[in-house]
């Protein structure tokens, strides 16, 4: 008998009597008989101990950050996560609740989301945040669609330094509404080419998209891009953990800021789940074209403060084919991780963590350059990851590092054949001096 199904034979018998049928099978009589089966062709269930043993064995075949030093970024990062984050977020009253349809018994969810929206607004410098999307890539895709809804224009200009998988996701999403994508190139500093942007922006342009820091780790000049972009929707894909030290995109003119929340207290999880955040400037018209759930403050009949899902007339369950998106489930639990994380680290901690990322990655670069095997590809300032060209065989180098307990760097030829021989190194506050020296010593020996 399955541990999650309570029915005894006696229960089943009594229930069938109440229903007035002879057996359970007869309840399935509406399924066409010729197609009906009576089995799931999978092995029988096994006990808890055996399930966990089997899964533990699978888990042990993976090289994880509890045993290896990670110098790998590219959208997912190994950061230090305060113990309290998962301890609180694993309370069943949070994670076994559903969408707060009944606000009176969901104030925990609703208030935490309202607080989350506030924190996202604070770190991005924006006026309004929704209650989350699936991930950074789909949040960006939805941002590009929103820009076209808002401007009624159908050409998106996207920096070619946006994460390649984000760009692929956008390409998928724009196929329906037929939005044209044009890439903007980058200069030798790794930043978006302002000249190329100037030459491509026109009256058909709906939005300009840049990543901050970009896929190659470089910090874009948002102010200059904003000035050129004039009345086009300016979308910034931001790494939220960098915003303790980098200027908030909202302060330099971003209309939309999206990104992936993984760095904010969420384990790497092999790439998911994390959550996507989606923030816009304060604008009554724009907010009504926004996808996703939004939580608002109000009062109850006794005048007591409370929170509800609001602006629901945008959403699929009400507007159906005219909704701003089909999104229903979001990634609320991920936002809880982020809210707890940001509450723990506070403004001071976020800044210190940002500074640690900057210093560690710059030290790593310096040590790599000293080995004589690495030259920087781009000259621009970076946050916690950077591209270097190497005279070493990348596969051999990675293998040697792995043998010595190190995962990374990221081989960029995986995304772009032109980048063969170039790798993306990442260092965060989770990388110690000892790890860096170990990495360097392995490379020096090559």
């Amino acid at each position: 008998m399955e541990p999650y199904i309570p029915h005894t034979d006696q229960d089943v018998k009594e229930m069938l009597e109440t229903i007035g049928v002879k057996n359970v099978e007869s309840l399935f009589s509406t399924i066409p008989a010729e197609k009906r089966i009576n089995t799931v062709d999978l092995p029988d269930g096994i006990d808890e101990f055996s399930v966990l043993s089997r899964l533990r064995k699978m888990a042990s075949m993976n090289a994880s950050a509890d045993k290896y030093a990670f110098f790998m970024g590219g959208g997912i990062y190994n950061h230090v996560i305060p113990s309290a984050v998962s301890q609180i977020a694993s309370r069943g009253d949070f994670y076994t609740a559903y969408t707060p349809y009944q606000a009176e018994v969901s104030q925990g969810t609703l208030q935490s989301l309202f607080e989350f929206q506030t924190m996202i607004c604070e770190i991005t410098g924006m006026g309004i945040s929704n209650a989350s999307m699936y991930d950074g890539a789909s949040a960006l895709a939805e941002g590009v669609l929103m820009a076209s809804r808002y401007t009624q224009k159908y050409k998106a200009l996207i920096a070619d330094t946006v994460h390649p998988e984000y760009l692929e996701t956008v390409r998928t999403y724009v196929a329906g509404p037929k939005i044209e994508i044009e890439k903007i190139s980058h200069g030798s500093d790794g930043r978006l080419s302002l000249d190329d942007l100037r030459s491509k922006i026109d009256e058909k342009t709906s939005c300009v998209v840049v990543q901050y820091p970009n896929f190659y780790g470089i910090i874009e000049n948002l102010k200059a891009i904003r000035e050129i972009s004039k009345d086009v929707v300016f979308i910034v894909v931001a790494n939220p953990i960098s915003l303790g030290v980098l200027e908030a995109p909202g302060k330099v003119g971003a209309d939309v800021v999206v990104g992936d929340g993984q760095p904010l207290g969420i384990p790497m999880n092999f790439g998911g789940p994390s959550f996507g955040f989606f923030a816009i400037r304060e604008d009554q018209k724009l907010v009504r074209t926004m996808p996703g759930r939004i939580i608002g403050e109000t009062v109850d009949v006794d005048g007591k403060r409370g929170f509800v899902m609001t602006l629901q007339a945008r959403e699929q369950h009400i507007r159906r084919e005219k909704a701003t998106s089909n999104i229903c489930s979001n990634h609320a639990l991920g936002t809880l991780y982020a809210s707890i994380y940001l509450s723990l680290v506070g403004p001071t901690g976020l800044k210190e963590i940002g500074e640690l990322n900057v210093s560690k990655s710059h030290y790593l670069l310096k040590r790599l350059e000293k080995t004589g095997h690495f030259v920087r590809t781009f000259s621009g300032e970076f946050f916690n990851e950077f591209v270097v060209k190497t005279d070493l065989d990348v596969a051999k180098m990675k293998k040697a590092l792995f043998k010595n307990g190190i995962v990374g760097p990221l081989d960029l030829s995986k995304f772009d054949e032109k980048m063969r021989g170039q790798v993306l190194f990442c260092a965060t506050e989770a990388n110690t001096l000892e790890e860096i020296e170990k990495l360097v010593s392995v490379l020096e020996a090559m």
């Binding site: 096994i46 899964l55 609180i88 009944q102 996701t169 329906g176 790439g271 089909n326 609320a332």
Partner: protein
């Protein structure tokens, strides 16, 4: 409760990052943030208390019965949670070399295989992050298929009026016109109407079966024939898959694409609204259109397969909500083929039992035979007492029960959509019936009690109009 910002005190810390052990580097001033974000400043203890107290304001599956129709709020096993946080699952990076994540890839591969077996499909992608995301992906596959065949005329997606809002919204996102088809008097797709609207413009039909009335559409084979003959494809919305495991496979009914909600059928927690996971399965002729990568196996090695030559592209970054996949796979191992079949049987038994008992108190439309895993009841007759469905369910909150879905599907007025799931006992169902009976009595004797409900919840009825009019979307 106070907001976390309201208990903040300047100068407090809740976390100390590691010490700087290398030389410091400072970014140029023009890149630096000038004004720090106004995040709360608290000790770890303050933060833990704040969120613990918030959590206590929530109703959850761990707290009690949650018969939210079409949401399959079954019990979320704890062993799944233990497995998901194994270091070897949670602390791995998506860009590690495949040879260093063989266990993760094996798990994904096995899950793909299990979903294929259960649905009768030939290929599965685990990439979509939620049910609606799966719908998006599935319909994008359908569109790519038609376009690949240079069949550009097909711009219509047929969707029953009983469908979830995600279906028409998905059609629109894919550039399709959503064509609504009415339900007939039995709550099924109106076959005659269907025959009239299919044609060279039909890209496909999105069907939830059993539908949102909890009824299995007996004409499904006829629907399949009509749509296929018109050149359209059949999309199976798997929201209600919990009703049919081991009983029938969408693939055998003629469906070409199916999505699964792992957070419904496969017991992964709903997380206050997510993350879920919405894998899709397709028939062989659509495999080459799937998003990349899927997980393949060559000899004893697992690998990320980017070979789908007509791929629609990606629908997100990386490979899917991996830790949700771990939970679902743990569930499948625990239940096994026999247990999964029994889950559907007991889910359907529970729904029919509740329907039999509740129909003595409330009207149950479309009650001509057995329902599947859920059913719809209506409180419409109580309108005579000034009691709306909303009032009725708000009163349930006072009795410590989570209400069913209300006002959906749209084709029944004042309706409650009730899905008990298999993890609830007869005792729990009996207590729920007692609550329904009690409230129905109260409705007639003291409607005010319902109209003003709830009375004992952390907050009482909230002013939605004010929230939408005077937008306060963040603390200031």
């Amino acid at each position: 409760m106070e907001l976390i910002f309201e208990i903040s005190t300047h100068g407090r810390r809740g976390f100390i990052p590691p010490k700087l052990d290398v030389e410091s580097y400072t970014l140029p001033d023009e890149l630096k943030r000038i004004e720090p974000p106004k995040l709360p400043e608290l000790t770890e203890g303050d933060v833990v208390r704040h969120y613990t107290n918030l959590s206590r304001l929530n109703y959850a599956v761990d707290v009690g019965f949650y018969p939210l129709g079409s949401c399959t709020m079954k019990y979320n096993p704890k062993l799944n949670e233990s497995a998901a946080i194994f270091d070897g699952f949670s602390k791995i990076h998506p860009y590690q070399d495949e040879s260093t994540v063989q266990g993760a890839l094996e798990l994904m591969y096995n899950l793909q295989e299990a979903l294929k077996v259960m649905s009768g499909m030939d290929a599965v992608t685990l990439q979509p992050a939620a049910g609606a995301h799966g719908e998006y992906t599935g319909v994008a596959v359908i569109r790519a298929y038609h376009e690949h065949r240079k069949d550009f005329e097909r711009n219509e997606m047929i969707i029953p009026d009983s469908a979830h809002g995600t279906n028409p919204a998905t059609a629109t996102m894919n550039g399709y016109k959503a064509i609504e088809i009415k339900s007939d008097k039995n709550g099924m797709v109106d076959i005659e109407a269907l025959k009239k609207i299919v044609g060279p413009h039909t890209a496909g039909i999105m069907l939830t079966n059993p539908n949102t009335l909890g009824l299995f559409d007996e004409n499904v084979l006829e629907i399949s024939r009509i749509v296929h003959e018109a050149g359209g494809l059949l999309y199976y919305d798997g929201a209600n898959f919990n009703a049919i495991m081991g009983k029938v496979r969408p693939g055998d009914l003629g469906f070409d694409v199916v999505h699964f909600n792992l957070h419904k059928t496969f017991s992964t927690p709903h997380g206050m609204g997510g993350p879920g996971a919405g894998p899709i399965g397709v028939k062989k002729f659509l495999e080459s259109f799937l998003p990349v990568p899927t997980v393949g196996k060559k000899g004893e090695k697992y690998f990320l397969d980017y070979s789908h030559r007509n791929t629609i592209g990606r629908v997100r970054s990386f490979y899917g909500n991996f830790s949700v996949l771990v939970r679902a796979y743990a569930y499948i191992l625990t239940m096994g083929g026999n247990g999964l079949k029994r889950a559907s049987e007991m889910a359907v038994l529970n729904a029919n039992y509740l329907k039999a008992k509740i129909s003595k108190t409330l009207e149950v439309p479309y009650n001509n035979g057995p329902c599947m895993h859920e059913f719809v009841a209506t409180t419409e007759p109580l309108l005579d007492y000034g009691v709306k469905a909303l009032d009725f369910v708000k009163r349930m909150l006072d009795y410590g029960v989570h209400p069913p879905t209300v006002y959906f599907p749209l084709i029944v007025h004042e309706d409650l959509m009730i899905e008990p799931t298999e993890t609830e006992s007869k005792m729990t169902l009996d207590k729920f019936v007692e609550v329904v009976e009690k409230i129905a009595e109260e409705a007639k004797e003291n409607p005010k009690l319902l109209q003003e409900a709830p009375h004992i919840t952390p907050v009482r009825r909230l002013d939605d109009v004010r929230a939408a009019k005077q937008l306060v979307l963040r603390w200031k």
